[in-house]
């Protein structure tokens, strides 16, 4: 059992403990730009009574929800094609290519999109050749979404692909055999069979989008700021770490609720009448 110890110790010391400390920190006070240990609810009250906090909260929630829906929908035909139409060789290569972005700098990719999306960027340059535009894409919600897609799409396609590839082909053929058309089979049979994987993919997409600060900041222009940006601003420009901790805990709790509901939904047996 000594093999269990290294992981246990490291994660307790440097993962669980810091998270616990974050909770404690949210009750501390800041006096003369110094943090003082204590047990005061002032940070919670201050943050929760500010309009801008709730604006940021619901805006972040909305962005992450839109990102989840958009990414899942855009990823599905791709994952479906790779799972059901592609040869095993093509599928393996696709998988390999989809893992690559995971290890390339997300920052550099976001910067690249700035070059594409800017008012004088490549897309608007192309549009102007045909007499359109310029369209404002950078520093809009569209820009944020492009960033979220960059972050989430490869992962969501991979996760959807894995669960679709596990779908029993017999059941698909059984549906055709019973008179179910191709498109209808996707919704009546394939999606229910792959439900757990699809929900897990969507959940990861939500978690990534909800916590990301690069896209809403560099591509979305931080107008209005999201919760992550709020944490950075609060931490970096001053000593209001306890308030940042309040935001962080709120985010974690939200994510836990979302993840828990998603898992419950994914594994729920349909109730029978």
């Amino acid at each position: 059992m000594s093999f269990a110890l290294p992981g246990l110790l490291w994660q307790l010391l440097f993962f669980v403990f810091p998270m616990m400390f974050l909770i404690a920190l949210s009750f501390w006070l800041v006096k003369n730009y110094r943090m003082v240990p204590g047990f005061e609810s002032v940070n919670w009250v201050k943050m929760y009574t500010r309009g801008y906090f709730w604006d940021a909260y619901f805006y972040t929630l909305m962005l992450a929800a839109i990102s989840t829906v958009v990414t899942s929908i855009l990823a599905f035909p791709c994952a479906y094609a790779l799972a059901f139409k592609a040869s095993p060789t093509v599928r393996r290569w696709a998988m390999f290519l989809l893992i690559i972005p995971f290890f390339t700098s997300y920052l550099v990719r976001a910067y690249s999109w700035q070059i594409f999306l800017g008012n004088e960027g490549i897309f608007n340059g192309l549009f102007s050749v045909f007499g359109f535009g310029p369209y404002k894409m950078l520093h809009t919600m569209f820009g944020t979404m492009v960033g979220y897609l960059t972050l989430c799409l490869p992962l969501v396609v991979v996760l959807q692909l894995l669960s679709l590839a596990n779908v029993d082909k017999n059941l698909v053929e059984a549906a055709w055999n019973l008179g179910c058309g191709r498109v209808r089979t996707i919704f009546q049979v394939i999606v229910p069979l792959a439900k757990v994987g699809l929900v897990v993919a969507a959940t990861f997409c939500f978690i990534l989008s909800f916590g990301d600060f690069v896209s809403p900041y560099y591509l979305g222009g931080s107008k209005p700021p999201t919760l992550s940006i709020l944490i950075i601003d609060t931490t970096k420009s001053g000593q209001q770490w306890p308030r940042a901790a309040v935001v962080a805990i709120t985010m974690i709790v939200t994510l836990m609720i979302v993840a828990f509901s998603a898992v419950t939904y994914a594994y729920a047996r349909r109730t029978r009448q």
Partner: protein, 368 residues
């Protein structure tokens, strides 16, 4: 026997890349018959069934259902429900929802389809499980759900792909009864793919024996058993003894062949053989008589002396394996007929059979 033809395969061929799965298949399936397609794995029997259901496209030839070409139709455009080896029940649907599926696809309204599904569950004695999830059922119950799901649209034909292979032996016999009765009651065509002789012989009106993508023989169980068309069929029916030899004499009633140290005389069949031609004699294991061999017993026409190697008892039936000059011989008999025979290993036993029980096959080079 003269029921109209429901399904017709016309010179159908199916290739997967370089391998030929089904070759030059001509097959007529009649209305209301129980047809079994039998063969070892990879013989093309399942591919044949899948082509009929539209899950594979023939590479050449035509398939007609009720006189209309169906090989160009998508599977969902045909009414050829299939009962799968894996059953392929939808795990995310309840029992009754599984059964309703085909009706839902045909646009039957909610009330009517629930009623028809419940009716079928009742006919198969599983109405009480209607609202269960399929993984809460036993193997036999799941089998019945699969049947109900396939039959609920009242098709003219039902395809079954080794549906009993996952069940234990007792249940297989029970389900055979259920299937036979169902087919008789409904009067529709069953096409039943199996590798199991006992299933095919127990239920089918006619049997198609396939090997390497080709049809070896089509006939009633009796014909397949007593008059195998090819050496393959004779060997495939596991209870046959096969002796190769050459024809030594032919008269107007009997043909005699000489094998390795044995002489067999057979009643003339439909195929005339000439002296000197090579032939295969088939003697089914249950038509061999046993006598304790007297010390002076010799091999003579239709009598072979063998040495007992092993015996196996299944219920009241005994299968003896004997070493003879013509190779291994298998004998099936009832246990009580063995009373006077010495069953010690190494005992000499004389095997005899009548000319009526010897079936002669002309040797064809390709059949060998």
């Amino acid at each position: 026997m003269n029921a109209p033809v429901l399904v017709e395969f016309k010179d159908v061929e199916k290739r997967f890349g370089d391998t030929v799965a089904v070759e030059a298949m001509d097959l007529q399936i009649r209305k209301g018959e129980f047809l079994a397609i039998m063969g070892s794995s990879g013989c093309g029997k399942t591919t044949t069934l899948r082509m009929l259901a539209g899950l594979e496209q023939p590479s050449a030839g035509q398939i007609l259902l009720d006189g209309k070409r169906v090989d160009t139709l998508r599977p969902e455009e045909r009414d050829t429900p299939l009962v799968w080896q894996s059953l392929a029940l939808f795990p995310f649907l309840s029992v009754v929802e599984n059964v309703e599926f085909g009706l839902k696809m045909r646009g039957v309204d909610k009330v009517a389809r629930r009623e028809r599904a419940m009716d079928w569950l009742g006919r198969l004695d599983i109405a009480e499980f209607a609202s269960r999830s399929v993984d809460q059922l036993s193997g036999g119950q799941r089998q019945r759900v699969a049947l109900a799901r396939a039959l609920v649209t009242t098709p003219e034909i039902l395809l079954l792909d080794e549906p009993l292979s996952a069940l234990d032996a007792n249940l297989v016999v029970r389900m055979q009864g259920v299937l036979s009765k169902l087919q008789k009651d409904l009067g529709i065509t069953f096409v039943y793919v199996t590798h199991s002789q006992s299933e095919a012989f127990a239920m089918a009106d006619r049997i198609v024996v396939m090997s390497n993508g080709r049809v070896e023989q089509i006939g009633t169980p009796e014909e397949i058993y007593r008059e195998p068309a090819t050496r393959f069929v004779a060997e495939f029916i596991g209870t046959n003894n096969i002796v190769s030899g050459s024809v030594t004499s032919v008269d107007d009633r009997h043909t005699t062949i000489q094998g390795d140290g044995v002489t067999l005389t057979a009643t003339n069949g439909s195929t005339a053989l000439r002296v000197g031609a090579s032939a295969t004699a088939v003697v089914s294991a249950d038509s061999v008589r046993l006598n304790a061999a007297p010390s002076d017993a010799v091999n003579q026409a239709n009598q072979i002396v063998g040495t007992l190697v092993s015996e196996a008892f299944v219920g009241s039936v005994v299968t003896l394996l004997l070493e003879t000059p013509a190779g291994e011989f298998r004998v099936q008999t009832r246990q009580r007929d063995l009373a006077q025979i010495n069953l010690e290993h190494g005992a000499k036993i004389a095997l005899s059979f009548t000319p009526e029980d010897v079936f002669l096959l002309p040797d064809t080079r390709e059949g060998g």
